[in-house]
Symmetry: C2
Subunit: 155 residues, 2 copies
């Protein structure tokens, strides 16, 4: 098992063990490549009154994908931080009638190098993240732009 | 049982029966006065890795409070619509360490009279809603500004 695989498994355990709603959503970590994280969720536990995905589930999965990509970068550097979402703007563009993914990436102009440099200097740093829920036929079902803050834990 | 009580009970059943995540959140309808709806949720099923309320739960409860206040107004007029959230802007201002409420109301400049007049003419209407999660000590833990669209169901 590589370190990267270990970190991804650790993230999935952390999400499912410590956030009951993530467990209720039956989410799983689907892919990670450093600057991007994909979380997946089945439709059934995330359905709404209209038979498509509940907006709260789309919002939660995108927010967790944003949180998770930072969490993994922090863990890969052996650091320990609390990471909070500060604000987000969500657009719901099309209904989702099946299982769905949320894919996060750093927003344009952001870099983990700058983020960790600030974190090392100030013990606190912010990062803008963009997420999308892709449609099988192309385009997006939903998008999220969010700002997160990380705080180094005091020993 | 008054009609108003009946509609509120119907909304709570609808949320819990048709949206599994609402059930997982253990939400309940706490108050309704026509232009405002309060949903309540206990902390335990909505907790996160830091021991405070999960951002996805705050977002979901606020979104449902916005959706619900429109749903109740539609039902009170004997209409049948599908109601969707189109976009939202959320601010997370302070952690929530206990049970919490989400309180929705029409945004400034909005009225149900105008909304239902448009819905009657066009079969479709939009409405801006504002929600907040109040802190026990005053101020807000989170706020949401969202736009919803209602579509009259075709018979």
């Amino acid at each position: 098992m590589t370190d990267a695989t270990s970190l991804i498994e650790q993230l999935q355990h952390e999400l499912l063990d410590e956030i009951p709603l993530a467990r209720a959503m039956a989410l799983r970590v689907a892919a990670h490549d450093g600057d991007s994280l994909t979380l997946a969720a089945p439709l059934a536990p995330n359905i709404n009154d209209k038979g498509c995905a509940f907006g709260g589930s789309l919002a939660s999965l995108m927010t967790l994908a944003g949180w998770g990509v930072i969490r993994l970068a922090v863990a890969a550097r052996g650091l320990d931080c609390d990471i909070y979402v500060q604000d987000s703007a969500i657009r719901y563009l099309a209904p989702v009638w099946g299982d769905f993914d949320a894919v996060s990436r750093l927003a344009d102009g952001e870099s983990f190098d700058a983020f960790f440099a600030t974190l090392a200097t100030r013990g606190k740093a912010r990062l803008n993240i963009e997420c999308r829920v892709p449609l099988a036929e192309g385009g997006d079902a939903a998008t999220l732009a969010a700002r997160f803050v990380a705080l180094v834990k005091q020993p």
